[in-house]
Amino acid sequence: MGRTLAEKVWGDHVVRRAEGEPDLLFIDLHLLHEVTSPQAFDGLRKAGRRVRRTDLTLATEDHNTPTLDIDKPIADPVSRVQLETLRKNCADFGVRLHSLGDDDQGVVHVVGPQLGLTQPGTTVVCGDSHTSTHGAFGALAFGIGTSQVEHVLATQTLPLAPFRTMAVTVNGELPADVTAKDLILSIIAKIGTGGGQGYVIEYRGEAIEKLSMEARMTICNMSIEAGARAGMIAPDATTYAYLEGREHAPRGADWDAAVAYWDTLRTDEDAAFDHEVVIQADTLAPFVTWGTNPGQGAPLSARIPNPAEFADESARLAAEKALEYMGLTAGQPLREVAVDTVFVGSCTNGRIEDLRSAAELLAGRHVAEGLRMLVVPGSVRVALQAVAEGLDTVFTEAGAEWRHAGCSMCLGMNPDQLSPGERAASTSNRNFEGRQGKGGRTHLVSPQVAAATAVLGRLASPADLPPARSTSPSSRTTAGV
């Protein structure tokens, strides 16, 4: 009987297996940020413990960091204390930290891959549910709580209950206007926010194989929104090409040995998944959410659903509550929903390809009157690349705000928040009540839909846009880069 990709990676990390006990797994990479680590370091101090493997640990500041005036002291004293606490903890325990102002600072799930630290066949954890992002490389990567953060700091291992395996196979080719974000939102709507509970999902099939690494990260990132423990994609030539030459990627003989190992990380043909879902890529379309959980979504061409038509009673009640919170009416076309704010960024869609695709649509166009658009690169490296390509100018000339890297409005822990009743089209990952600010209303969208929405002031796809005026050299697009 063959093994799945997830089972192979798991098997290669078992430190100890004993009857009636969870397997003890070795953790190859532990990522830290300021929000979920202070109580863990406190625990270490109280118990007189050290960080076992500082060489497998990396910290960055992202959740609380401001995206304006980063050279000034952080205005919010509570945020400042949390960041200072991380700095002290990293200094005391010898952990490498990328602080605000550092060129390698950024959202933890953007930083790990861009440094080449996220590699196929590794186990990656972080006190953050979107750690599933790293599964795009064929890593077994998952979010953990603060008690587990402390456990990994102290032991570099975790006792873990077994998981079930699910295959999500996406056959055929995605239509030209359908992005990885549309695909993952469609998958979540299909299997539900609890459909992945207890599973590690492996995304496979022709449409997945054709995705870039960054698009694969978008897919795996939102596995948690389907309730899954993790999401994974088998490593292939695309993965190797992304990794080769990165700062922490193996070199020379180590590279050859690594690739030989990575080549074994594919689900065996005779392996069985506990559950399988098949999706036809050519049936998909730009997809947005209308509700208050990521499973409440629909194609952009659809109308707001009527809760009365939901067969399941709890789904009906949830839809009623969601529409009330969102200030939407059943039957209203999604394309008629007017938006106040557009946010492009986050660990889901804050990478260079995301910024390029939004900039391409904004070049020669302008954001709608009265609409606020924030563009927040996922990391400083992404920002530097965008500036090198002139994307920052495209954004600012279009009337968008070009900000410093961080989590920003994805969860509104810094000053970038929605006001009560304010409606956003957001490339982030969660449309929960109040997620982006108290009373704020969130529609999850792709970067392309975000850009088109910013121009038209209502939920829109690129196909809805009138032709752009020709652009000046300073605001050239980077299509084809």
């Binding site: 109580q39 406190d42 060489d55 549910s129 603060t146 509970q197 822990m413």
Partner: protein, 197 residues
């Protein structure tokens, strides 16, 4: 961790599904660097609604939260568990919990109990009809007992043992120091490192 053996208390019926951790404790509370003081942040937005269950006088002092399916979805924030405990909850009953929340709860001695939705609804009805009704969540016998309801629940033997004894996971793992060292010795040299030591 504080041990959990059995607990008897009143029910807070939370008739909602998909209660995500952003609802349980909003992000702005996560700036705190302690494990306590989160009680006022618990369900902060909903507590502004007068008819929210925790605002109803008849449910004051309830210590067993009974919620709809998919409780604890979303963010991995352990603060959600601390907020429930800080407020006074000892156990949560739902037909389905998000994985990370479940793991966090069991590591902190907040017992999360999975019962079928029909049982959840029976407990809701019980609490609505008689807010003083007591429910017992018995981890020793793995059983939930309330007037008119007796239901067994599952929990893996290891988690149950650790809860009953209030064991420290890290201490147990460090007892396997030799196995960890052996694994480290056979790890491939091409595996990534964040710094040279």
């Amino acid at each position: 961790m504080e041990a959990f053996t059995t607990h008897t208390g009143r029910i807070a019926p939370l008739r909602r599904g998909n209660v995500d951790t952003d609802q349980i404790i909003p992000a702005h509370w996560l700036k705190k660097v302690t494990r306590d003081g989160f009680e006022d942040g618990l369900f902060e937005a909903w507590r502004r609604e007068p008819d929210f269950v925790l605002n109803q006088p008849q449910h004051q002092g309830a210590s067993v939260l009974v919620a709809g399916p998919d409780f604890g979805t979303g963010s991995s924030r352990e603060h959600a568990v601390w907020a429930l405990q800080n407020y006074g909850f000892r156990a949560v009953i739902s037909s389905r919990f998000a994985d990370i929340f479940r793991g966090n709860s069991l590591k902190n001695g907040l017992l999360t109990v999975v019962l079928e939705q029909s049982r959840v609804e029976a407990l809701w009805d019980l609490a609505d009809g008689d807010p003083q009704a007591q429910v017992t969540v018995d981890l020793v016998r793995q059983r939930v007992l309330a007037p008119g309801l007796e239901a067994d629940f599952e929990l893996d033997g290891n988690s149950r043992h650790r809860l009953l004894e209030g064991l420290d996971d890290i201490g147990i793992t460090l007892g396997n120091e030799q196995a960890i060292e052996e694994y480290e010795a056979r790890r491939s040299t091409f595996k990534p490192r964040t710094q040279l030591v």
